[in-house]
């Protein structure tokens, strides 16, 4: 019974639904596409429940940490999460309270997210500096030359040097950088294909605990 619940039935569900969806994409013959769309719709609804489960798990983990040293951050996180949830739900469900959600988004979420995104510039600059200090080899030189070409090509420099740099930047991004990125993308794609196929034939079972 335990084996049936933990292994056989979940594997049948995963393989069955996965093959139906894959067939829906590869053989667009009725009724396969509509079955595919329906299963994807189900997965989207279940994924929403997974998001809610993740939210409660976050609250549980941080309520456990709240009693430990440095737990004040966890308390703040829980309070912010609940406030954000309540304000956004109120704004989305009650039209007259929409301004509260807008205020929260404009004054709290947007500045925090934009500033953290901006901080990436600082982190990247520090990382480049450390890379130059600790690893002096040919590969690092190619990396830095590529970064410099892209950065200098972005600057509004006067002609003719400015035009030449812009052309060099465009060529670099479209030819050698694109070639490397394309190889990487195809490699990642092949890896994802292999992992997906292993799940679809039931060889990998990440859902059985």
């Amino acid at each position: 019974m335990d084996r049936l619940m933990k292994r056989i039935l979940p594997t049948s569900v995963a393989v069955g639904t996965g093959l139906l969806v894959l067939l829906g994409y590869l053989l667009p013959v009725p009724p396969l596409p509509s079955v595919r769309d329906e299963l994807i719709r189900w997965a989207v609804i279940v994924a929403a429940f997974a998001f809610i489960l993740g939210f409660f798990n976050l609250l549980r983990v941080h309520s456990g940490r709240a009693r430990k040293p440095g737990g004040i951050y966890s308390v703040i996180l829980i309070l912010t999460a609940l406030t954000s949830l309540a304000l956004t739900l109120a704004a989305l469900l009650i039209p007259s309270l929409r301004f509260i959600g807008d205020w929260w988004f404009r004054s709290v979420l947007s500045p925090l997210q934009a500033t953290v995104a901006g901080l990436v510039a600082f982190v990247l600059a520090v990382a480049a500096f450390r890379l130059l200090r600790h690893r002096r080899e040919a590969g690092v030189l190619v990396f830095m030359v590529a970064a410099l070409i892209v950065l200098l090509g972005t600057l509004p420099l006067p002609t003719p040097a400015g035009n030449w740099l812009v052309s060099l930047r465009t060529w670099w991004i479209n030819v050698p950088a694109m070639a490397g990125m394309r190889g990487l993308l195809i490699g990642v794609g092949l890896g994802a294909l292999l992992v997906g196929l292993r799940v679809l034939i039931g060889s990998d079972r990440p859902y059985s605990d």
């Binding site: 830095m144 394309r182 092949l190």
Partner: protein, 225 residues
């Protein structure tokens, strides 16, 4: 004091808290990060819940066969919540299996039709390259060598037979070395583009802080004028 002014103050303060990271990891930055995680998660859960409710509720209220079709994923979703309780977590395996199965199928078809086939086709053929003259031919060749080389850079297995091993090192090994240079060229370009984009955002935030402080001073009359 208006809600807009309070919002401006809060936004400016939060920006300064995050920017305090420039001085090193500190409690103010950690506070801002926890605020960010909490606010983002709460917002995300609220938006997801309302979106799903708006999709599901009309079908549930109607008498159409849609009702049964919506009840199945809701039931699976409720079963998934059992994952939160170790004793009952096996009941959630069906929902996870559906997510993994459908996800794997979408990933397989997506990578095949959205990445592998289009990206391989984008390398182009000799005819495509010759259409661009000698420059097109050179660029096409560089593109092909770079793409194949980058793929070979991830070939870590090698044959056991000594003769084949030498042949492998001479072909795949050298191809991989060239590919590594193309990968570094790509990473360098991605680094430069990411730096440019994040610098633009950072300048925007710093400008917003300066303008915010100016407006707060003007509104509260702290300027002494």
């Amino acid at each position: 004091m208006t809600a807009d002014m309070i919002g401006l103050m809060v936004g400016t303060l939060l920006t300064l808290l995050v920017l305090s990271y420039i001085l090193g990891d500190n409690p103010l930055y950690r506070l801002a990060l926890h605020l960010l995680v909490g606010a983002t998660v709460g917002y995300g859960v609220a938006v997801t819940t309302v979106t799903v409710l708006q999709t599901v509720l009309p079908s549930l209220q109607s008498d159409s066969p849609d009702r049964v079709r919506v009840l199945i994923p809701i039931l699976l979703g409720i079963l998934l919540l059992f994952k939160g309780f170790p004793r009952w977590s096996a009941w959630g395996n069906f929902s996870t299996a559906l997510l993994v199965g459908v996800g794997a199928a979408v990933a397989v078809s997506g990578t095949l039709m959205g990445t592998i086939i289009p990206q391989t086709a984008a390398v182009g053929s000799l005819n495509d390259w010759l259409r661009g003259g000698s420059a097109g031919l050179i660029n096409g060749l560089i593109g092909m060598i770079g793409t194949v080389g980058a793929l070979l850079a991830f070939a870590f297995a090698a044959p056991r037979q000594p003769t084949l091993q030498r042949l492998w090192k001479g072909s795949v090994g050298v191809g991989g070395q060239i590919g590594r240079l193309f990968l570094l060229a790509a990473f360098g370009a991605a680094f430069g583009l990411a730096l440019t984009a994040s610098l633009t955002v950072l300048v925007g935030r710093v400008y917003a802080v300066v303008m915010g402080i100016q407006q707060i001073i003007t509104a509260t009359g702290m300027g002494g004028g």
